[in-house]
Symmetry: C2
Subunit: 376 residues, 2 copies
Amino acid sequence: MNPKIAAFLRAHEPATPCLVLDVDTVEHNYRRLLAAMPHARIYYAVKANPAAPILERLVGLGSSFDAASYEEVEACLAAGADPALISYGNTVKKERAIKAAFDHGVTMFAFDSEPELRKIARAAPGSRVYCRIFVGNDGAEWPLSKKFGCEVAMAKRLMVLAEELGLDAYGLSFHVGSQQTATSAYEAAIAKVAMLFTDLQAAGVKVRMVNLGGGYPVRYRQEVPGIDDFGAAIMGAMAEHFGNALPEMVIEPGRFIVGDAGVVESEVVLVSRKGEDDPVRWVYLDIGRFGGLAETEGEAIRYAFRTPHDGGAEGPVTIAGPTCDSVDTLYEKSNYRLPLALADGDRVQLLATGAYVTTYASQAFNGFKPLAEHYI
Amino acid sequence: MNPKIAAFLRAHEPATPCLVLDVDTVEHNYRRLLAAMPHARIYYAVKANPAAPILERLVGLGSSFDAASYEEVEACLAAGADPALISYGNTVKKERAIKAAFDHGVTMFAFDSEPELRKIARAAPGSRVYCRIFVGNDGAEWPLSKKFGCEVAMAKRLMVLAEELGLDAYGLSFHVGSQQTATSAYEAAIAKVAMLFTDLQAAGVKVRMVNLGGGYPVRYRQEVPGIDDFGAAIMGAMAEHFGNALPEMVIEPGRFIVGDAGVVESEVVLVSRKGEDDPVRWVYLDIGRFGGLAETEGEAIRYAFRTPHDGGAEGPVTIAGPTCDSVDTLYEKSNYRLPLALADGDRVQLLATGAYVTTYASQAFNGFKPLAEHYI
């Protein structure tokens, strides 16, 4: 575990559940990513963790920002971000939210449908827009289905329409899914985008940016390819398909920037068995799926645990949250094992929980308050 | 739609998303349930909706309360509830939460394991305890798996142990799953409980209460059996298995009391297609799975919709929430159809959304605030 976080937990024994996040690790990850993809401009995906100390550090580093809502635009501005460096990246926006962002100087917007494009043309005239297209999500542990993006033929028509509506038909985007562990997913997506890009240029559209989205993985229980592997695969594919005419490149990392910077500390509420000889113990924590660990749905993201008894004899466990809802079960099928000595009152740590935890937390399900947050 | 709620929405056009809940309907449902099961004592499941106006109305009606956490105990006390009428019904509790409840006069606690029983004995000496046992959840649209309850043999040993620990081995409980549409589920569970009950009495344990849990269904898109059918099935099974020696009966309704009392109003953010000839439109609302509609997970609870264009031509839709998370999709496989005239800016209503919505809402996922609440 991160020694700075470990020292904080020892010194303060903060009330649980809580997230402790090391902002220096955020900076370290930003610099690692910049080194791995020097041609790309980093738009931090604010939704991964919008805490002010993170945004402020990234502003200082010159980062740009990908906002999912007007509220996230406001958070970036409050942290000192230049509105020219904010992209409003949700393809689904209320028209008055677009206008509010535009009124604050935001001029870069995502879309994937004609009604959305027309909203942007009305509420944010002359802005740069980019169209999100479908690509495969194979290899992603948190895939993104068909909710976002459109088919290539539609994207082509809409980019032409964007210029007719007085917008700047700036670029194309895709997203290979979050916690994407296959570098080949980016290669396939780049090939698809490059064809459309060339088509659009041939049609006279002044497209000049490719937004590669996010998805770069964090190490949880299993090793994943390093960021340099992703950087090399992406730059190789870009060179192969665009040659010397490389477009502007945008990336939208969230999990990669903040995931391994944070640790959730939780208290064990109960360790029990369901029958006298049941080999599997149930371990109930004071944080669960509705307390912030939403990405354990379907056991998609499998966090690593630390306990005070690590190294001692272990046995199989089902791990659950503290609420009266059975859906609030974290891991039943992922072969977790925890020490036999684990008991109620023990404090355990969930590693690499800096991304997609705090904001997901229910405001009061079963009466439980959201986890506390400490940025150090 | 409830005319009082319809009038409120017309008169106030409240900011969306929001819940509007008619507290008179809560009272009506409480009285209906009391009439259907006059032998049972009603412990309202606070987790379904802990809003003060609901708790206060129920206090006035003489209801008891089933609390899932110490925070819910506090909410009941703040609403004027007598602590003697509060059951702390979560089988997973921190020992200091048990003590805090006991210090405020709560003396009725659920358990399903030996460590929990020992916690109660230490923190709430002499209290009434009841053991939750496993029963089948077939027929439930929101089943409860094995997270709660224990096997019958273990329950028997623990009830004997409860008396040895100086506790009052008060009763047995089960839960057939939420939105349970089969009256037979209760009949099978009662048969199982009755056998254990008789065993325990033969062993000298002074057990005298059966807690039938909740689960009574609300009408969403489909008709469900009426509460009188459940009352008749339950009383028939109780008479069959207990004869003239009926135990005290406790029920823990949540959804039944508040579900159809509430309506969520939402704004359509976008209606789009993914390809030029795609027959299915995507309808994006300003509330989704992380905005409170958590029970749409797996399309388990299928809410009914009202729109300003009802009666006009309809077509198939996928319905999704406003966040950048693809998991935030409500209905893709449940054959929803909505009017072809539906467009962004329209206000739509989700009926029977008074239960299990407000507290589930994420505090700030993608920057979106939890839905507003209006109790009328």
